[in-house]
């Protein structure tokens, strides 16, 4: 929490393509607080698998269309 995660997401983009859905509307539909949506969009919080599926379900897309794995240079070095 706090620093940028290695998973990028398109939540903000998808919200605007879904009738300009507000953060509060999305939060209500996936049963979390608005602050969690803010942290998710900022890339400061990595959601649970369940929440990721819920968010994808709201937009009617697959999970991988919302979240993409983008390893940082440090993570790549760790893996190597």
């Amino acid at each position: 929490m706090g620093k940028q995660t290695e998973v990028q997401n398109r939540i903000r983009c998808l919200r605007f393509h879904t009738d300009e859905m507000t953060q509060q509307e999305l939060a209500d539909r996936v049963r979390v607080t608005r602050q969690t949506i803010i942290a998710l969009e900022a890339g400061a919080y990595l959601p649970s698998l369940l929440l990721a599926f819920r968010i994808a379900g709201v937009f009617g897309v697959k999970v991988e269309d919302v979240f993409q794995y983008a390893p940082t240079i440090d993570a790549q070095a760790d893996e190597a």
Partner: protein, 196 residues
């Protein structure tokens, strides 16, 4: 000679009792005023925290707990400046206001809103761990300092009441303050990109 001596003794006893009564009156006046003023501040802040919907419930609760801690410690410092430190410990009764924390977020919960989600639970877990860990570290540090100062074989006379008070109340204040600070720091770090 004896009657004069006994008259002097009774006069000094009377003076001492008057002094004690004056001290008691002064204590209750100062303490009462401080408690009333502090309660007003705490209630005003509580109302603000209940009404503020832009922050998460856990964050508002942490802010309230922190304010109660600060007010209590300020009162304690003020009282110890006026009276002795033993009497100043009475201000810790204000910590009872922590019990009102449950009121923050109750209205939203009644309206069926989610007030605590997985991220809040994670923050709460980290904050509680930090609070209890700091208590443990402080306890070990105090023990270490005492060991270094008095030596391993020293006999130290200590009041059970004072030790119990500092261990319980001091520990509670430490755990609550650290966990509230960690909670606020974690929310503050995440609160970026706030748009609609």
């Amino acid at each position: 000679m004896t009657s004069a001596h006994s008259a002097g003794l009774s006069t000094s006893l009377l003076l001492a009792s008057v002094q004690l009564e004056l001290l008691a009156i002064a204590f209750w006046t100062v303490f009462g005023c401080l408690v009333i003023c502090s309660s007003v501040v705490i209630f005003v802040y509580l109302r603000r925290m209940i009404a503020n919907r832009s922050l998460s419930v856990l964050e508002r609760q942490a802010r309230f707990r922190l304010l109660v801690c600060i007010v209590t410690l300020m009162d304690c410092i003020l009282m110890s400046g006026i009276f002795c430190w033993q009497l100043s410990l009475a201000s810790f009764c204000l910590l009872g206001f922590w019990g009102l924390t449950f009121r923050i977020g109750r209205a939203e919960q009644r309206h069926g809103k989610v007030i605590i989600d997985e991220r809040d639970r994670e923050i709460n877990r980290v904050a509680s761990t930090a609070g209890f860990a700091s208590f443990w570290v402080c306890l070990v540090a105090v023990w270490g300092v005492a060991l270094a100062f008095f030596g391993a074989n020293a006999d130290v006379k200590m009041s059970i009441g004072v030790m119990g008070f500092f261990l319980l109340v001091g520990g509670m204040v430490l755990v609550q303050t650290i966990s509230a600070l960690v909670t606020l720091t974690m929310y503050w770090r995440d609160a970026r990109g706030e748009t609609n």
